[in-house]
Amino acid sequence: MEFLTILYFVYTFIAFYFLMIYIMTYFQNRKHIFETIEPDKIRSLSIVIPCFNEDKNIARNIEAFLASDYKGLKKLIIVDDCSTDNSYEIIKEYAKKYPRVIALQTPKNTGRAAGAKNFGIKYVKTELIGFSDADSLPNKNAISKMIGVFNDTKVGGVTSRVFVNNPKKYLTKIQAIEYKIIAFTRKLLEFLDAIYVTNGPLSIYRKKAFDQTGGFDLNNLTEDIELTWHLVAKGWKVKMSIPAIIRSYVPKTIKTWFHQRIRWNVGGIQTIAKYRKQVLGTGMLGLFIMPFFVLSWFLGLTGLVFLTYRLTRYLMMKFLVAKYSVAAQVALVSMEDFSLNPSILFIFGIVLLSLGLAYTVVALAHSKESGRIIGHSILDIFIYSFFYLLMYPPLLIVSFYKYLRGYNTW
């Protein structure tokens, strides 16, 4: 058997295995996906929101949190990271009007959300501590849907489901699909105690658990991933509440999207590098989350190499055949060029692709925003599946390069 064939089988096997984990987890737990646990008591909660130049969004963000139906929300701590616009003035206005709102400002710009968050933590005295982004809008019941998981004393954190706010531009529409699939997948991973990130738009932690981590890592570009791994490494469980919905703005241009994804990937690499010694160690972090994370990247990169190699050879061959055929005045295409005997590799690929598409459809069907079953056009799903996802591996390569060059800019 050729080396490439063996490599292809390894690739397909790992991809099949991951997909099987999702599919079987879904079938075994589908009745519990939307389950909400009633809190056994009201737990006091403070939400810390870092803010930098968000004067267009911060007022709506504060009002959305003030409208929350959760009775235990004691403080809304908004930390302005020395904005150059009117953000801090707006925050102070709200602080004057609502005693629950605390307006803070860092002594100097920290340059990243983690800095402002760590600054705000010092003012939290409640049993639970939550974090949000200044441009995110939680549903009225989002927090109350999350709190029940803390009945389990082993739970250290809970995260919410992020929907894209007002996806009108095409790139945001595709990201809306992506966010729904990410959220659905994350929920499935919860059943395995394998959630690897508590998102920035809205996550809540047990203060005792959070304090054990020492706060957000200022050297990490994805402080939310790092914090989650830290919690899991300390033995805390991390949960996700699908009914807890928060809407967030996503990049509208390729440039900002690219920058965001590079930051996410570099942050992921930084986190793996930090916890590398725990690979295959005890607990889900070493036994599943890290290998899963690394293998997912391996799949992406191997897939890209395969595709590029095959496509390049195919196109080069077609080009040369066309060139020589024209010169020799023979037909460019003949019946011999079409094979009706697909190889086993092709069949495996088709099965994998079909299962992947079915998973995408199921994930979207569980993320209804409107009355429609899927909520997205077939074309959008097609673009997402066959073009957008192909952007992941090249981004990863660029991210690796930037990581090696010491990239650490928010």
Binding site: M20, M317, V321
Partner: protein, 216 residues
């Protein structure tokens, strides 16, 4: 409170292994079935070749009609050409076993035998043309593969335009002693090459016309 269901990791692994093994088994089954089909065709071709070789010997001793010899040889060559196309198709889809490669080699040997058996018939009867197309089977060079692809098309067009062509495509790098001897005999030094009527050896094929001018 929901309990963690990590056992799904093992279950998924077992299901994946089962699906994979089933897929591989199915693949092997398909490839074996293809191989058996080609083997059956090959057995029939072997009989036809033996027949052709017997005819060739008779040509030496008796005065047979050249038209009959031509028809028989071309008919046989056409059949193994079609079988070779089927073989190539199966070979392209075969990823698990090497059985098709061995069958390809057997067909190359068969065509080599047909080439040798036609030497005398061709000398006596000048009413047909023998085109032996020697190509590189194990080449990874994309440019060479493209050239070979186009040569195949040119030669097939030549064959389609003339009803007196015996076209024998043979892989020249199959390590067959008889073929290597024949190639030495015709001073074939590189692949691909086209040998026309055992006289002309071409290393450049630019057009159909170039071949047509060298035919009887």
């Amino acid at each position: 409170m929901l309990k963690s269901k990590k056992h799904v990791l093992w279950e998924a692994l077992i299901v994946t292994i089962v699906i994979f093994l089933a897929g591989l088994f199915l693949g092997m089954l398909i490839e074996t079935s293809n191989s058996v089909e080609i083997s059956n065709l090959f057995t029939q071709s072997e009989i036809s070749l033996t027949d052709a070789m017997a005819t060739s010997r008779l040509v030496e001793d008796f005065d047979f009609d050249c038209e009959d010899i031509k028809q028989n040889n071309i008919k046989f060559a056409n059949r193994i050409y079609e079988e070779a196309q089927t073989l190539e198709e199966y070979e392209a889809s075969g990823k698990l076993t090497d059985s098709m490669k061995l069958l390809h080699k057997k067909y190359d040997l068969l065509r080599t035998l047909l080439w040798t058996s036609n030497q005398k018939s061709l000398d006596r009867c000048e009413n047909y043309n023998l085109i032996v197309y020697l190509y590189e089977y194990n080449s990874e060079d994309t440019n060479k593969k493209a050239i070979q692809n186009v040569w195949s098309k040119i030669l097939l067009d030549v064959k389609d335009q003339n009803d007196n062509i015996l076209l024998l495509p043979i892989a020249g790098d199959q390590d067959l002693t008889s073929l290597d001897l024949l190639m030495n005999e015709h001073q074939v030094t590189q692949l691909p090459a086209v040998v026309i009527n055992n006289n002309e050896v071409l290393y450049e094929v630019d057009s159909i016309n170039q071949i047509q001018t060298l035919l009887n």
